[in-house]
């Protein structure tokens, strides 16, 4: 009887193994198909001139230099606004509000609703609020601020999860030692919560770079090198959209731009990961 139970359990384990490996294989295969497609079509058009020259002939020729600069600026504005706001809110929700507090509940619910707002609605909202009401016009600043709104819920929710994961022991020990809440936060809790923050950052940067509909109405379509944050600048995702859907014969450069975007993302993710590991997390020595 025991042997039969053991066999049943082993069978289940074996089945679980198969299912998990197949799931991973399926996911890997699909993504490799997609990435392979981009690589195959885009690699031949990549060159140093492509990365630095301005676009010509509606983007069919030339490169994406000014567009990379605009994208970097938009991302910079987005992260510069959303990271402090996001981490601050997450800290408040995780550390300074009880689970029963109305403020905490309302904020979390509204953030969840915010995470589901369609990108086009953000674009329209950004256009009316940032471009018209605040008078920023079509600009990198408007685009970055709109993206910050989109990225906030993801950042906040994952950072909050990161904070919840920190063992209560840390806080209790800090209180026992007489440390102020601020010191506990900056020296103990933030470094310990870094994995959650990192996931939020990676997902947020991903979402920001991937956005098209929100940026068309806010940071605009101009593919000139931007001279200030108030200039309109075309983001890489919009350039890819224009080349593949609006300009005939733009496919080749669309693929090359997509490849550049993928490589850029890889670089950003790896850098963020490395920074988080070596700079913040290492402060904590876990037993």
């Amino acid at each position: 009887m025991v042997k039969a139970l053991e066999r049943h359990r082993d069978g289940r384990e074996w089945l679980a193994s198969i299912v998990v490996w197949s799931a991973a294989a399926l996911v890997t295969a699909t993504f490799c198909w997609l990435l392979g497609d981009i690589l195959w079509h885009g690699l031949s058009h990549l060159s140093w001139t492509f990365l630095t020259a301005p676009p010509r002939n509606a983007g069919r020729e030339g490169g994406i230099g000014p567009i990379l600069v605009s994208t970097a600026l938009i991302l910079g504005v987005c992260l510069g606004v959303s990271v402090p706001l996001g981490v601050g809110t997450a800290v408040l929700l995780a550390e300074f509000t009880t689970d029963a507090s109305l403020f905490g509940r309302l904020t979390r619910r509204s953030l969840d609703v915010l995470s589901g707002v369609p990108s086009i609605v953000f674009g329209l909202f950004g256009n009316v609020f940032f471009c018209k009401t605040l008078g920023l016009g079509f600009s990198i600043l408007s685009g970055g601020l709109t993206l910050a709104c989109m990225v906030l819920p993801i950042l906040i929710r994952s950072t909050e999860e990161g904070f919840r994961a920190v063992p209560a022991g840390y806080r209790l020990s800090a209180a026992a030692l007489g440390l102020s809440r601020t010191t506990t936060l900056f020296h103990l809790l933030l470094p310990a919560a870094v994995p959650g923050l990192l996931v939020g950052l990676v997902l947020g940067v991903g979402r920001a770079m991937a956005e098209t509909a929100a940026l068309i109405f806010t940071s605009g379509y101009v593919d000139r090198m931007p001279e200030s944050l108030l200039d309109s600048g075309r983001a890489l995702s919009i350039h890819i959209f224009d080349l593949s859907m609006n300009v005939s014969g733009g496919d080749a450069n669309a693929y090359a731009s997509a490849l550049v975007l993928v490589v850029l993302l890889l670089a950003i993710n790896r850098t963020a990961s490395w920074l988080a590991e070596h700079w913040l997390h290492r402060r904590i020595i876990t037993i």
Partner: protein, 288 residues
Amino acid sequence: MDKCLALFMLKKYAALVAISMAALMSVPASAGGQATAADQLTGKLVITGASTLAPLIGEIGKRFESLHPNVRIDVQSGGSSRGVADTRQGLADIGMVSRAMKDDERDLSAFPVARDGVCPILHQENPVQALTDEQIVEIYTGKISNWKLVGGKDAPITVVNKADGRSTLEVFLQYFKLKNVEVKAQVVIGDNEQGVKTVAGNRNAIGYVSIGTAEYDAIHGVPIKLLPIGGVAASTENVRTGVFPLSRPLHLVTRITPSGLAKAFIEYAQSKAVHDLISQQYFVPLAH
């Protein structure tokens, strides 16, 4: 944040001052009789509207900027209606509209800059070579639903229509005297390239797109073919000579009679100097 903004603004003004100084010191060489006026053109034009026109006006804008270094032409996308609305509200200096002007848009001044034809497209491997107007109407209203009824293979027809409000749709419906409620489509698309890719990926599809887009793609190896209408082959050449029946004008619009920079730009866009740019984007320059 504020400090960074201030620094950026400073850089921008410094750059503009430097450029103006350089421009003032160099001898401008401009075409036409605008030699003295060219140096003094400064400012920024914001142009919004149809995404079909945006690449073309962007290119014209770049050439205009190279002739007048103090000028900035910012072209934004967003659709013909946005072009009209923004121009009316003063949020844009010039609007781009990719269709004939409607009756309720008489308050705007419209300046045609090019023409574009619209033609049906099929997959290259579809044996059907031509369709009569009645056949196209019946296919689009769902009365004919299999290619064998018009001389093709025995396969169901996938009808590709454009989304409501698009100018290509309106031109198409107007010519074939249809209303959008009567059209029974299996796929609805937004931009021209989406239409081309949909038809290229489906051997039994029929759609209609701008001739410029279709011609460019067909020449560059995309597996589509353009159908003639009323016996006239679909080509930008035929649209230019006026023989091809289905075409739409592309306009720049302003709220009041344009003056200064806007006037100079519109005149430039309508001049012979940009005919090569218009042909490069596969539109048809207007004869003067």
